[in-house]
Amino acid sequence: MKIKKYLLALLLSSSAFLMTGSLNADMVMSAEAAVASGDELAGDYLALLEAQGEYAYAFDFFTTSMLWTVIAAALVFLMHLGFATLEAGLTQSKNTVNILFKNVFIISIGILSYAVIGFNTHYPGDFNGWVAFGSFIGDLSGPGMDTFDYGGVGLAMTAYGDFIFQAMFAATAATIVSGAVAERVKLGSFMIFATILVAIGYPVVGSWHWGGGWLGTLEGGFYDFAGSSVVHAFGGFAALACVMLLGPRAGKYVDGKVKPILGHSMPLATIGVFLLFLGWFGFNGGSVLSANPAGVGLVFTTTALAACAGAVAAIATSWLFLKKPDLSMALNGILAGLVAITAGADSMGPLASIIVGIIGGVLVVFSIIFFDTIKIDDPVGAISVHGVVGIWGTLAVAFFGGGVFMTQLIGTLSVSAAAFIFSLIVFGILKVTIGVRVSAEEEAEGLDLSEHGQEAYPDFASS
């Protein structure tokens, strides 16, 4: 029987396993003897295992999972370059420096504010299910934070891994807004708004779902795998509120007609979308929260298929209805497929993911046209791509991924409404106080010169 116990210990252990107190002493003693007898490498390795305490058995799995977490964080980071170049490409060159600057600022303040308040608000300890403001992350290392028991199989990373992966997500909400308000928003006001949004709005609303808040108490539990709602629809509807308060760009809607304001660089926009596609493998793939091979493989596949289906659907739709194979619509189609699959990437198969992507791709084309007809001026289509399609993606989980329809509906609408109202209030206060829009003159001249005194392509402009 004693042998059995030992064997069980070893069975559970992929490396070393110190299960029962009585066993402990013996084994460590023996190990120390071995180390003392000269095998230094074995000693170093044993020290690593020992640092894992009783969870040493999962050390290798934990290591691989944590590695995936930080790589996924890096990929999500790259999405910010994707957003920056997409937004810059789809707008006029006289506002390019401003757009790049906003994006540099958003990622920077996003990560910093997530450290200062966001992370602990997003994942509150003592929690009423609605709001619990957090504090600075402090030192996230040490027992229980660097080991498998931080989150087990379901969150197989260290606390720092958890932080950095989530921090990269956090800034996304503000980046989505950035695109929608481009070319006329006042820099200072936007910077204040973005900071409040990522520091408070995003983590509070996110905690309803990911922080163990009230959305989990709905029937069947609200299901939003990587955040079609809590990231994308959140950003999209925050953007809608801001655009409504801000009004359209000068010259966009004239005498009841829509006059497109063309972007200045399709290569930049295309680079942006490819980088976003790439980054989404980290966004969705990393949301498996471990390197579980079954989960990661499925999520990569559904993510890619939905994106591709979205592109093909948007190409077909624009060709049929708009008569031309429109590159900007193809690009939006990719993004729509990606946003759509985000809620259910781990819970549907290839066929379903293709259908979800196709519907996303069709939807985004008509949504963009719709918003233009109601004079909501969104230079990059962010409200449609992230907001409208974000809702679709969340609902799709009910059709293809086993979610409960009413729960999904309540969830996504709550999140969207919260984002909308929060932004309406914060951006509204900014509007009546310091103002949110540059002067007509500055808009005409371009924000690069008026806000930054810099041109994006100044080659011979200096004196």
Binding site: K94, E441, A444, E445, G453, E455, F460, S463
Partner: protein, 112 residues
């Protein structure tokens, strides 16, 4: 015939074009240029060094019209391009001796 050359602010191009269409002008040629004028003195800082952005983005519109239309063309441009702020630009008029439409070999007023 006259060549009307107008240097205007870039964002006024649309209005100028419409204002010209309204008076029946059917052709023009537009160039992105940099302008140097009184609107200078706008000092910027690049990586810590001050400098004056002397050359500002402008658009040059060139239109060849019949002698008779030169004045109303100029007026239409001035009206549409005016903001009253420094840097609004200039309109210059000079003579053109002949014009040919490449496609048809039509010459003179026919070619415009």
């Amino acid at each position: 015939m006259k060549l009307v050359k107008a240097v205007i602010k870039p964002f006024k191009l649309e209005e100028v074009k419409e204002s010209l269409s309204d008076i029946g002008i059917e052709g023009m040629t537009v160039t992105e240029v940099k302008g140097f004028g009184r609107q200078k003195g706008h000092t910027e800082i690049y990586r810590g060094s001050e400098y004056t952005v002397d050359f500002l983005p402008k658009v040059l519109v060139e239109i060849v019209v019949d002698d008779a239309d030169a004045e109303k063309t100029t007026e239409a441009i001035v009206k549409a391009a005016k903001t009253g702020k420094i840097g609004d630009g200039k309109v210059f008029v000079s003579s053109v001796e002949s014009a040919i439409r490449i496609r048809t070999d039509e010459t003179g007023s026919e070619a415009l």
